[in-house]
């Protein structure tokens, strides 16, 4: 009957009632997502425990070890596997002889931290702009949407380079990088939020809230924001890995965080000429970056399916499932 139709159509917008419990139930059924989640957890742990871990190893990310590199051969690490040894678990960096393990774990902090911060910036700006555009009147919407178009149309890399050059060098670089990535990348999320808001504000309970005499601000907070959580979190989960790559790319263009602070992107950049002479120097950060982005992406997908009932229903939509059904 009509009500069925109505239910289906509205639930595509609303996250399922009493989200959290459902969310976990839906997430738990996805093995890939769980694996990914644990990997991410591990990486975060790695990052947080960086000082501890390198202390255990007895190294730090900045001390030079000229004796551990072959100066005559361009500073390639002495010994096998890039100078892998008891006190240098993953070998040392060519030219400087700095400890790779220490740099990697410290690098994790920067890379993950920057990406996370950038994502937060994107989400916040995106939410504000999106809701304002979606809930505001035609003119507000016009103006904001146009502005969003402009931002989306700006080439991320170039603007980052410029912005990073403008800000005085005193400003803490990781924060700056995060902010810049964030400020340039919120466009897409704003568009999504706007679209969702437009749908949401058609919903009767929003109208009802207006009839109750609440202010727009309060309505945005109480009626819209919670409903937006699902799509936003979903999208943010997919943005996060992208931002990690963005940090790497910026370093690659010479606009990342500054030495001696290590970041994966930065290590990759200086490493990618050493692919033959000292492969592990390239492969370690590349591998880590790869695993991280992969895990986060898979997790992001998992989160999406767990949050978005349609996606969730997809989990059970059988096309190749005839066989089980026979039984």
């Amino acid at each position: 009957m009509a009500s069925e139709g109505a239910r289906a159509s509205t639930e595509t917008v609303l996250a399922p009632a009493s989200g959290v419990r459902q969310f976990w139930r839906r997430l738990r059924v996805q093995r890939a997502a769980l694996v990914a989640a644990s990997v991410v957890a591990l990486l975060v742990l790695l990052a947080l425990a960086a000082p501890l871990l390198s202390a255990v190893e007895g190294q730090d990310p900045t001390t030079y070890h000229p004796d551990l590199v072959d100066s005559a051969r361009g500073g390639v690490p002495v010994g096998t596997f890039g100078g892998l040894s008891a006190d240098h678990w993953l070998g040392v960096e060519p030219q400087t002889g700095r400890d790779l393990f220490a740099r990697l774990v410290y690098g994790a902090r920067v890379s993950l931290g920057v990406a996370l911060a950038a994502t937060v910036v994107e989400v916040t700006v995106g939410l504000v702009m999106g809701i304002a555009a979606g809930y505001g009147n035609r003119w507000v919407d016009q103006a904001l949407s146009r502005f969003t178009d402009v931002v989306v149309a700006l080439p991320l890399m170039v603007m980052s380079l410029a912005l990073l050059a403008i800000v005085p060098s005193g400003f803490p670089r990781p924060v700056l990088v995060a902010v810049v990535i964030g400020l340039i990348g919120w466009g897409s999320i704003a568009k999504i939020v706007r679209a969702q808001t437009l749908t949401l504000k058609q919903l009767d309970h929003v109208a009802a809230a207006r009839l109750s005499g609440w202010s727009s601000w309060r309505i945005a907070r109480r009626e819209l924001l919670p409903a937006l959580a699902a799509p936003v979190i979903t999208y943010a989960a997919l943005l996060f890995p992208v931002n990690i790559s963005a940090e790497a790319a910026l370093s690659f263009l010479g606009a990342g965080v500054k030495p001696p602070t290590p970041s994966w992107g930065q290590m990759l950049t200086s490493a990618n000429v050493w692919y033959q002479a000292a492969p592990q120097y390239l492969l370690l950060p590349a591998g880590l970056l790869f695993v991280t982005v992969l895990a986060l992406t898979v997790l992001g997908d998992g989160v999406r399916r767990a949050l978005d009932p349609r996606a969730a229903s997809r989990l059970s939509v059988g096309t190749g499932r005839k066989k089980e059904a026979r039984a």
Binding site: M1, S3, A6, P16, D204, H205, L211, S212, E324, R326
Partner: protein, 544 residues
């Protein structure tokens, strides 16, 4: 064991999804060319039975027990190939929502042709020709051209016709129609039912009609099987079951079906109060309101120069088919929309924007409550917005919940824990919390089962009398509206075509359109149904 006389034979059919038993040990048989109606409220399992006939449960993980034989084929045991032959070939199905049931991306003709070619070795041209043929058969004008159109270019009725055409394409022996008219306007519904009727007469195919609307069944089948919670309640010839129901549930069901031909029961109490609506002062008024949507070329007036008055304590009914602009009007009355032209006046003063003293009850019991907030909080909204504080607020809310027939304990529950009817009561409670003088109800019961409908309508009527509320009752269902309104306004294409005391309009409609509407309402007496069918033909003719 299928004798050639038998088309469908269902024995001890049980369908379960996980722990839920949708259908429990149901058995029935359908002779060739006969028509059986499966009637029941939502959750009675009637649609599940329909799908079971085509083995649609395969691959969904539902557990199917018992045997289903369609034209000799054991659906449960049939091979994929057999099943495909059965589907569409022997037995064709028509679904509820005609829009979503067709692929939006392909021309209707092509979709029918595709189905046709699944079952017949035919060239594309031949298949197309066939498509045109059946489209023409189901009364799509200019079928050749229309065959190339896509579903969204069709009206709801035409889409349903197209679906029926698809069903006809392979000349099935059985047509399974699952709520084929629920999503349609009453006049269109009548047309579709008539179409089904004539098709049966001509092709002699069997019909299994699944519907929640007893009236629809009465119009179009020989036997009915009343279901409830997956089990059979009563089964027999339509006349007997509807005429002299044996079971209490059937009786209750029939009783709660609103009758368009029975005037509203006026409480004696009211007569004593003797308040003549005409005398009471006007609380809400629409003066030449007009609302235009879209701009430039695409602009159209959803509501066009409508003037209405609502007096204290009276109930104004507004009926109209989809697109008549009744909802837009309703939203302008409460101030959710501002009119493009004209005025909305409250106590004679022109106002814009929302005011607590005019509240609304919404159609969709799902989206009208914030799923993330306890119902108590939702109801409390108007109070808190007024700046009242606990415990006063809580007490008031508890009282309101009780008044609309819910338990105080429900305060802290969440919407999804309630049935459609209960949610609607919550919605009403929230509206009352603002102490409104006018309550605008937009299709308040159209999403509910008949039994629940009756209760909610009853509640609204009580509240009106008790609190001296003025009630604006917007609905597409003429029968329901008649049960509540003192006065009636009939809307069509954004205008009020007829307006007057309810009983007058119902007994002696002046407008042809109104007459057409009334004629389209299904009646419970199968005998009468036949007469009306004839009557309708004339009307539609005169219409054109």
């Amino acid at each position: 064991m299928s004798t050639d006389g038998t088309l469908v034979e269902v024995t001890d059919l049980s369908v379960g999804y996980g722990s839920v038993r949708a259908v429990d040990a149901l058995s029935f048989r359908l002779e060739r060319g006969a028509a059986l109606g499966l009637v029941g409220e939502s959750g009675s399992g009637k649609s599940t039975v329909a799908s079971a006939l085509l083995g649609l449960h395969r691959g969904t993980g539902a557990v199917v027990q018992g045997t289903v034989r369609v034209a000799g084929v054991d659906v449960g045991a049939a091979s994929e190939a057999e099943l495909r032959r059965l589907r569409g070939g022997t037995a064709a199905m028509v679904f509820q929502d005609p829009l979503s049931s067709l692929d939006p991306y392909y021309a209707v003709g092509d979709q029918i042709a595709e189905v046709y070619r699944v079952h017949h070795k035919a060239s594309r041209r031949a298949a197309r020709a066939r498509a045109v043929q059946v489209l023409d058969r189901v009364g799509i004008p200019d079928a050749v051209r229309r065959a190339r159109a896509r579903p969204h270019e069709f009206s709801g009725g035409m889409r349903q016709r197209a679906l029926i055409a698809m069903a006809l394409a392979c000349e099935p022996e059985l047509l399974v129609a699952d709520e084929p008219t629920t999503a349609l306007d009453v006049t269109v519904q009548a047309q579709i039912l008539d179409l089904l009727h004539t098709l049966r007469e001509e092709t002699g195919m069997g019909l299994l009609l699944v519907t929640h609307d007893v009236g629809v069944a009465a119009e179009s089948v020989d036997d009915v099987l009343v279901m409830r919670n997956g089990v059979e309640v009563e089964h027999g010839p339509v006349a007997t079951v509807l005429g002299s129901p044996a079971r209490t549930y059937t009786r209750r069901l029939l009783k709660s079906v609103p009758r368009v031909d029975v005037p509203r029961a006026r409480r004696p109490a009211e007569a004593e109060q003797g308040q003549e609506p005409t005398s009471a002062e006007v609380v809400l008024e629409a003066v030449g309101v007009r609302r235009v949507f879209g701009r430039g070329a695409r602009a159209f007036a959803a509501v066009d120069d409508v003037s209405l008055q609502v007096r204290r304590g009276e109930a104004l009914g507004i009926v109209g088919e989809s697109g008549s602009g009744k909802t837009t009007l309703g939203r302008m009355l409460v101030g959710l929309l501002d009119p493009s032209a004209g005025q909305v006046r409250r106590e004679g003063v022109a106002v814009r924007g929302v005011r607590p003293d005019v509240q609304m009850v919404f159609q969709d019991p799902v989206s009208s409550l914030n799923p993330r907030r306890s119902v108590g909080e939702s109801v409390a909204d108007p109070l808190r917005a007024r700046g009242e504080r606990d415990p006063a607020v809580r007490e008031r809310v508890l009282a309101l919940l009780e008044r609309v027939g819910l338990e105080p304990a429900h305060y802290d529950r969440y919407p999804h824990e309630f049935s459609g009817g209960q949610r609607q009561r919550i919605g009403i409670a929230r509206a009352l919390a603002a102490d409104p003088r006018v309550l605008v109800c937009d299709e308040p019961v159209s999403a509910l089962d008949v039994t629940t409908q009756a209760q909610v309508v009853e509640l609204l009527d009580e509240l009106r009398r008790e609190l001296g509320l003025a009630l604006v009752f917007i609905a597409h269902d003429l029968a329901v509206v008649r049960q509540v309104s003192d006065r009636l306004a009939v809307m069509r294409r954004g205008r009020v075509v007829e307006h007057g005391p309810a009983d007058e309009v119902y007994e002696s409609p002046r407008e042809a359109y109104t007459r057409q509407l009334l004629a389209a309402v299904p009646v419970l007496d199968p005998g009468l149904a036949a007469l009306r069918r004839a009557e309708r033909r004339e009307l539609t003719v005169t219409q054109m």
